[in-house]
């Protein structure tokens, strides 16, 4: 109940944030632009619309999660609103989860709105409603949930600018870490290979949530992949949230 109260208040706060609307405007513009790009480009126009559209939803969603998420906890501490809040019978973990779910709710609505615009654009072009695209959007949303947790983790101990840089780095590393696998295979077995294996295990692999290519090109995917990717997202998000709670629990609000 307390988490829900804080989450709804966070939602109220987030939907009043101008950055959200600015990013939404650019996302909508990028989605519209995908149609224009399809006209100019050589190749399968529908695929270009789908590719650019899904990429836009993903990029602008991540920017929303990072730019709003990194300020959420920091603003409470900086503006000292946290003083009155934490003097009430509410635990610090409840506060943090309330903030997290509030932003997740905001991102859900934004992703849904961007997704609907995208589906309408695809519908206008192909004349059919492609429900399979929703699956790609669902996994973009799962990735956004994880990025939200990461942004909140960093904002527990750092300023919004630094937290944004850290979170963005997490996102980029997460999408490039698959390259490590190639490096591991090319490295001779020994200490270096072991170290690389260790790093690979720790680093996030956000490509697990990327089903865009397969879905756009209509390739078959084993349903188990969906299940394991969703499970990976859930476990990683819980791990990051647990870390955030641990840090936040011991923090002094000076």
């Amino acid at each position: 109940m307390k988490i829900q109260t804080i989450a709804l208040n966070t939602f109220k706060e987030a939907i009043r944030d101008r950055i959200l609307y600015l990013l939404f405007f650019f996302a909508a513009a990028a989605l519209a632009f995908s149609r224009l790009l399809a006209v100019l480009a050589v190749g399968d126009r529908v695929k270009i619309i789908k590719d650019v559209g899904l990429a836009s939803i993903s990029i602008f969603g991540v920017l929303m999660a990072i730019l709003i998420g990194t300020g959420l906890v920091y603003k409470e501490i900086d503006k000292k609103t946290i003083y009155t809040l934490l003097s009430k019978p509410i635990q610090r973990w409840q506060f943090l989860l309330g903030k997290f779910f509030g932003l997740v709710l905001t991102l859900f609505i934004m992703t849904l709105a961007m997704g609907l615009i995208f589906l309408v654009i695809v519908l206008l072009h192909t004349g059919k409603l492609e429900g399979r695209m929703l699956l790609a959007i669902l996994f973009i949303f799962i990735e956004l949930v994880l990025i939200t947790a990461v942004s909140i983790l960093f904002s527990c101990f750092s300023t919004p600018i630094l937290s944004s840089i850290f979170s963005l780095s997490f996102y980029l590393i997460g999408h490039l870490s698959w390259g490590l696998e190639t490096l591991i295979q090319k490295t001779r077995s020994g200490a270096a290979r072991m170290a690389l294996r260790g790093v690979s295990a720790i680093l996030p692999d956000l490509e697990n949530f990327n089903f865009k290519t397969e879905i756009v090109h209509g390739l078959a995917i084993d349903p188990r992949f969906y299940f394991f990717s969703a499970l990976y997202g859930l476990v990683y998000t819980l791990f990051i949230l647990a870390l955030a709670v641990l840090i936040f629990k011991k923090r002094d609000f000076v």
Binding site: Y83, S87, F253
Partner: protein, 305 residues
Amino acid sequence: MAAVLEIDNLYKAFKVGFIPKKREILKGVSLSVAAGEIFGYLGPNGAGKTTTLKCVLGLIFPDRGKVAIFGHPPLAAKARENLGYLPENPYFYDYLTAAEFLDFYAQLFGLRKKDKEEKIATLLRLVGMEKARDLQLRKFSRGMLQRVGLAQALINDPALLFLDEPLGGLDPLGRKDLRDIIVRLKQEGKTIFLCSHILQDIEMICDRVAIIVGGRVISQGALQSLISEKVLFTEVTLSGIDPADLVDLGEPVSTLGDRILLKVFQEDNIGNLMALVHERRGRIHSLVPRTETLEDIFVEMVRQG
């Protein structure tokens, strides 16, 4: 009376600077607040008042020492459910209206819808903010924020209330209103822990005080026991006398036209002064004995401390 708040030997240090250097803020603070009293916590800037309050509210963790609220540690739900807190320079969610703001805090205490609405209306009436009910907090003046902040602190009908500089930033009328509310809350049986710089207000409403200087409580007790009834000096305003004749009797403070303000330190000199005025056919306009005030004690202790 039973103590509702016990602070025992509290220590807190912060690391400051690029190369972290330990700075001790609280150096063994101990105090106790009894049920039903208004307790004043005084100290100059940087003495450790707000740090003490933050330790009590669980916003920071002391390095050493113990805090018990109704016998429970600060983070225990049983302690939190029964306390209210109004911070210094209240910072609240300014995008909420006064009613939404109180509703938010009422929800955190799990108040039922009907009780919540009644409570919000009663509190807004108590702090004189019924007309601002649907106004966003960002449009509030400092005084209005202070009032709505007090309403927020009372949303759970707490037995113990922490007020950090509640009278700061208020106009004289606002100060009087808030003082009256605090006294009324005491009459209802609430215990009030009041941090303030405005000594006059503390003197008017507090039962007991503690003075903190440099992270140590250097004095605490009932206000009457701290302030003696002894006359420090007498202020006399007179006219028709040559200032040169008054030098042996007291210390002239100022002159305005014919009028002289004189500080007489020895009580015996009052009789001599009156005789002189009578003899020279002068006039005494006022004669005010000045007893010791909380401010005198405070200034003295801060200097010594």
